[in-house]
Symmetry: C2
């Protein structure tokens, strides 16, 4: 007997037939003698509708109310999935974030899980019940509903897997695994059998939407064996594992991209100590994550231009914050640019091989793609480019780093 967590994304529970299909998959694991916790997302489209309503009422909304509204989608699928299981003879009940409870901090809209006591779920297993858990949601120290950010159900699943010491955490989705890059753009993309936690974390952070980055971070920390696989096809997926489980190492394992980026340039910022704090302090207070930062050399010794990137969804909020703080920061102009994309090459092989960054820059230069900002880490190099060059960059890099499928 094993304990497993099965997580189903929005397309896997998009309608009643698919929910019935999910129930059948769960039943198979139950029939095999396993204890199963199921984590479900909202029906595809539901969250977008709810978010649209919230934005329709209030552009700069109270995130506590956003969470109360948006978390309702997972509540619906949890109940329906429990019913679908009962209907085929599998004892089951739904669990909401506050019922388990899934404790989080109070950063509404992108809360972090702080603790998940396993007691209630363990008691449910003792009763022979499948626990069907509403993903994406938790409860704050104040007893308000929180949500874990887009893709948060992945993190719910891994968190639950850690809490109940699951043997496996299977993430069912609408793709059949993790690819070297987005196969919708690069037809020669290959599915990976295995990927290391570190690489998966970078890929997810850099825009590959197959898993929420925090879920990978949590899996790495608690050594949860995660598998990404299709809920529609019975084919092996991609295992996310320890680096040393991967035999054949490539220099670069994958190429990620993100169009959810926006660039802001503050022109003629005073070049004095404390100015960075004056800019990024208020942004942090408004829960705007700043990603890449570039500060030009001061020409006159007095002012400089400062460029940074944020999530595109935060652009309006960030601009508002910066306008409000104009007097404190002292800048001459605020220049937003939402038409940018981030392209990143990722691979643990980089640690022992220099030259990946150089090869990347040369390849982009050969295609006349201008690099606006660069960031690097031990296992990745990211560049910001104009959005329109995204596909071109991806295909060129996929080829040059030897990732193309040899069909």
């Amino acid at each position: 007997m094993a304990r497993i967590v099965m997580k189903f994304g929005g397309t896997s529970v998009a309608d009643l037939d698919r929910i019935r299909n999910v129930a059948q998959r769960v039943k198979r694991e139950v029939d095999a003698g396993n204890q199963v916790a199921v984590v479900v997302s909202a029906m595809a489209g539901t969250t977008n509708q709810l978010v649209a309503w919230v934005n329709g009422i209030s552009k700069l909304h109270d995130t506590k109310e956003y969470d109360a509204v948006v978390a309702s989608g997972e509540q619906v699928t949890a109940g329906l999935t429990a019913l679908a299981l009962q209907e085929i003879g599998v004892p089951a009940r739904s669990w909401l974030g506050w019922q388990i409870p899934i404790y989080t901090d109070d950063v509404h809209g992108k809360a972090r899980i702080t603790d998940i006591p396993g007691d209630n779920l363990n008691a449910a297993f003792d009763l022979g019940e499948v626990a069907v858990i509403a993903g994406f949601q938790g409860v704050s120290p104040d007893g308000r509903i929180t949500t874990l950010g887009r893709g948060g159900s992945d993190t719910s699943a891994v968190g639950i897997a850690a809490a109940i010491k699951a043997d496996r955490c299977d993430i069912y989705t609408d793709v059949d695994g993790v690819y070297t890059t987005d196969p919708r753009i690069v037809t020669k993309a290959r599915k990976l059998d295995k990927i290391s936690y570190e690489e998966m974390f970078e890929m997810a952070s850099l825009g590959a939407k197959v898993l929420q980055p925090r879920s990978v971070e949590m899996a790495m920390k608690h050594r949860v064996r995660v598998q990404v696989l299709s809920s529609f096809a019975d084919v092996p997926g991609t295992l996310v594992v320890d680096e040393d489980e991967i035999v054949e190492q490539h220099l670069v394992s994958g190429i990620a991209y993100s169009r959810d980026e926006a660039k802001i340039t503050l022109a003629k910022v005073a070049d004095r100590p404390g100015v960075a704090a004056a800019i990024f302090g208020p942004l942090a207070d408004a829960a705007v994550n700043v990603d890449m930062i570039v500060q030009n050399v001061s020409a006159d010794g007095k002012t400089t231009d400062l460029t940074f990137t944020i999530g595109r969804a935060d652009l309006e909020r960030a601009l508002q914050v910066l306008r409000d703080a104009k007097e404190t920061i002292e800048y001459s102009q605020l220049i937003p640019d939402p038409a940018v994309a981030k392209v990143s090459v990722v691979g643990v092989g980089m640690r022992s091989h220099a030259g990946v960054a150089l090869k990347m820059f040369e390849t982009l230069a050969a295609k006349n793609i201008n690099i606006q900002v660069i960031t690097t880490s031990e296992i990745k190099v990211s560049v910001l480019i104009a959005e329109e060059y995204t596909e071109l960059a991806l295909r060129a890099l996929h080829t040059v780093f030897g990732l193309d499928a040899t069909a």
Copy 2:
């Protein structure tokens, strides 16, 4: 300064514009210096969609999961309404049933409120906040979400009004008050300025959908001043008050009808002690409310026919229960009839005047409408008739009891 509860039904919050309209109405009361608790239903159509999904997955469903799914609709409107208030400068936050908490029993699907501690809401008022409460929902002793039955948001509103000792409980709806009968059927129906708790309770119980019966019961018990009024027009509504506040008494105040009825006949039931318990015990266990009952005189001293009515929505469940209990009950045939309607005349004036029932029966006989079952109470007479005669019966009775508007 007064404390008021404002309840808005599904059509009043059917889309974002209407939610903004609700916020404006609330703001008016806040600007007048009042402390306001708002109770909202789900957006019109939402609950039906959720119920359809539940029934689509499982016809004889677990009502605990039904509640978890269906309660999500009010969660959405509570959050959106709080946001709409914030957007026009009115401090507000949403409250879910489990957060207040609204304690109920564990009869899922039609739970009864057992207690509402006012502390959290009073604290919110002290902060100058409008409390926007998700109607229709509560929390069971086990910490599961419960719902209060169709129209349950009315009961939430009156319950909240009692808990916070509100001066007024205004029920905003898509009609502008309580009418002598359904104006969509009887064009000469008149709006009542006032109606007594007792009459309102009977009218509501007997099919007038303007208020949930339990809300009236609760208002009567706690002497909550309820007003039914339109959320679209600025016209006076109907006050539900103590009988002695009503000066001009009519013999009959209103005529109610319900098409949500179904009739079941058990043919050749053994005519012996304990048979009623064998029939109605299992139905009660399955939470099927039996309304009218008629037992024919036994022809042979051994068997009899037994006819009773239930809510049409419970028909399938009731038939299942009776089929399962066939051996215990011993009947020859189970005959369901969903094509029936109940028509009732209501008025506190009946207490002091005999002859209302007779006048009713004569009027129906003159129209060749066959009466299948009869029940009476101190202030009402109800008859079960074939559904197709509903309109005819309503119009005839409305005229004969002097309720027609003198245009």
